[in-house]
Symmetry: C2
Subunit: 541 residues, 2 copies
Amino acid sequence: MATTAVSFESISPADFFYRNRSIAGFDNNMRALYTAVRELVENSLDACEDGGFLPTIKVKLSEVSPNWFRLRVEDNGIGVPRDHILPAFGQILYGSKYEHKQARGRFGLGGKMAFLFGQITTSEPLQVVSAPSDGEHIFDVVLRQDIEENKPELVKWERRKNREKKHGCTLEFTLEGNWRSAKRYIIDYIEQTALITPYASLTFTEPDGTAHKFKRSVKVLPPQPTPVNPHPKGMDIEQLSRIIEDTKTRDMVTFLRTHFHRVGPKTAKAFLKSINMAYSQDPRGLKPNDLVKIARGLEDFDKWLPPDARVLSPLGTKLLELGIRSTLNPEFVKVTQRPPNSYGGHPFIVECGLAYGGDVPMKESIIIYRFANRIPLIFDEYKDVAAKVIRAVPWSRYRIRPGMPIAAFVAVVSTKIPFKTAGKEFIADLTELEYDIRMGLMECARSLKGHLRQKEKVQRERVRASVYEKYLPIIARDIAALAGRRKVPDTKTLIQSALSIKLEDEEEEVLPPPAEEGILEANPPEISDSEDSDEEETEEE
Amino acid sequence: MATTAVSFESISPADFFYRNRSIAGFDNNMRALYTAVRELVENSLDACEDGGFLPTIKVKLSEVSPNWFRLRVEDNGIGVPRDHILPAFGQILYGSKYEHKQARGRFGLGGKMAFLFGQITTSEPLQVVSAPSDGEHIFDVVLRQDIEENKPELVKWERRKNREKKHGCTLEFTLEGNWRSAKRYIIDYIEQTALITPYASLTFTEPDGTAHKFKRSVKVLPPQPTPVNPHPKGMDIEQLSRIIEDTKTRDMVTFLRTHFHRVGPKTAKAFLKSINMAYSQDPRGLKPNDLVKIARGLEDFDKWLPPDARVLSPLGTKLLELGIRSTLNPEFVKVTQRPPNSYGGHPFIVECGLAYGGDVPMKESIIIYRFANRIPLIFDEYKDVAAKVIRAVPWSRYRIRPGMPIAAFVAVVSTKIPFKTAGKEFIADLTELEYDIRMGLMECARSLKGHLRQKEKVQRERVRASVYEKYLPIIARDIAALAGRRKVPDTKTLIQSALSIKLEDEEEEVLPPPAEEGILEANPPEISDSEDSDEEETEEE
């Protein structure tokens, strides 16, 4: 009998991700450079917002030798406290606590993978300058990662007084990269990040010295999300056991009220009745079978209150519009925020926008800008739920035709964005999301339709006017001559009064009417539109 | 100054994958069921082949309650040795040693994720019966995973004498699943696995009791791959440091010869010259700068021998043809194996096939079967390199038209399949792969063209013959009458001799001519074909 000795081994998480770095977006030199920039910018934005600071982030990429780049990212966030500097940058699966609130990053894997990629391609260590916002010192640290052991290796540690009361973090390291291929993705990413974070000041300097500067156009942060308990829906047995292990409650009603989102005594009792469990049951006394019963019950029970949107931090229509205006300078913008919604216990909010004209390029199809928890999504657009909805919206109903300069904006915030892959590049097409995106875009489209209708009207009047302007003076002159009058009548005033709109100078921008909504409301709804209105109504449960 | 206390924590790899289970293909109940079957079948196939056993694998899915399924997979592989049973099934990132040879699985993550998914959805433990092929006992073990600590939790351990000298492993566990949605993927997967492993006996029993049985159609295993040293190309600094740490060599020539694939003294010396390094340099004395120099040099040096294909275990044209014939029973099959090739130090071999007629369904486009290291790829076909090449092949040149019953087979084996995502569902479009797939498919297409031409000829002749058969007897009779002859001449022999081919009965299969290649060679090459021939020639470097 043939036998083969198969040997076994255990590897560290760092080793696993080193061997499978494509999982984190480090498959090749192009993607690695893009992912490194993206992960570091996102960590910086999170660090600023965590401290309530208006972000000022400077990203600089320099070429140190062919295909070797030095990436430097500086922020004014809360910094990393002394005791956490080494593991936070040198230990995979160590990071800021996993909470039930909206955040850009996952588990701080991305940043560390960027340093790891730099180390395995260039052997250079990572330089960290951390000025924790609650401390009195600035730390200058140089470190490497011991990949086999998954632990940091200290190279240099210096401490100095933080006299200027600075706060934030500066990271610098060298990595192999393909700038030529990554360039357009990185610049797109920075531009779109500026659009979705108009309260941030962003600078990106290319290897040739070209600087892309995006000043903040507003000086307020959007309201920060509040962490809350997990929603009872979508809870698995593992999560449930962990809560039971830590609980101090001694009966099931208190247990449910204490540890779950939006569960009051009434809902708790109704739930316990639905699974035939005593209110007084001590959570510590639950058997494996009970856990299964509870977990299945939590999923099936249909009287939970929907999750609260306080955990979410949508950008808000004002900031979104500002971001769009300052980036694309469009002739017309309409943005809208949908009411909070949820899927399987995870709350989400969809914000949509449509921009027309200005610097929006004319393309065969609508240009799509996608954002998830304020991260621009650059790759795999055609697979995203937003692209799917946009393909399905009956645009012609809104006078929107191919070839018009139109950009659509779809921003989703959620405690758990349903990404379809680990690369966080596109969102799955859940029915709930599709519905809100569709409703949001159609609302914007109705506004745009008003604008386009107004614009067409102006256009028509202008044509009419030009005909009058051309012939009326001739007719007036000839008639005056026939009538033996010397003075030719004033045709200008006549033309002006005959036209229903005020003509503007050719050069002047056609501004949208002050209240687009009003115009639409004044008109009786068209048959083709009434369908949307119906859909709109059914949505309020 | 606003400050927020951000707390930090470290989590276990099991916890990480529990929180990010979509990375391993456990995003939802449909996908989880499919991935669980797939991962377990692949582990079983690997375990059989590792021991040189003809695989006999039985997969059974039963519904224990609505949406709860019990999955049982039994194999006759080498089994798991006593000391490894607990960690091999209960500890993430513990597995059979990572070697530089072709294998289906990665790091045994998939199987453990399946058990973990079962545990968090049903709270049921995993049952293992392991009969190691080199031991005297059979072990009956029940265990759970402690996800927070990433360690196994023993529930039951029993040992009995292995009197029957059995070997293999049986795994059984319960998981939540969506059979209705997963069904077609699972059955496709099992069928295609049978096709690509014709030496395996596979049985899959559906929850309703329907059994899909695939008997082995051949009793030999394809040659097993031999592990070899890594190729110098595509080596990063981390890998290099690990080799240096372990080496017993004391000069660079011996170092390179000992630890790298296909490096002899001549190549080693040429390489060292190219980076200006002394032959006698002790590897233990290398500085970080030297490592960088070596790593970059290994990548840039252009005189390495290509990797040896002994590390690979392609199915072989005979087995591939057998697999296709026994699954699709086609009228015509042509398979081909391309010579070994490599990308960035990773060897690969492409095998292609085309099947026509029989049970191949008629579709608008060619049906594609994709395999990577003998794993069928079921999802995301349109993104795969094979689909891209197939879209680009000028099929009409080979008399192949839409609507014909044609299936294309593309099987790639490599020490590192360049999957584009962690889900292992589609292969990236590397130039080297594209070239080989294109060449392979075009070779098959040329054969199929011969067959189709022959078939058309038969068809034409048959039409001609039917005209003759219809009118010749009438003409012969009338002429005979006119000539005053009584005996009508024998037109049958006449028709037969006038036709250039032998007519077969309508019912009989039109078999391909014995040597398709010969037919093509006998004809002068067509202009449209000469282009391929050129490409074919340039390929031999």
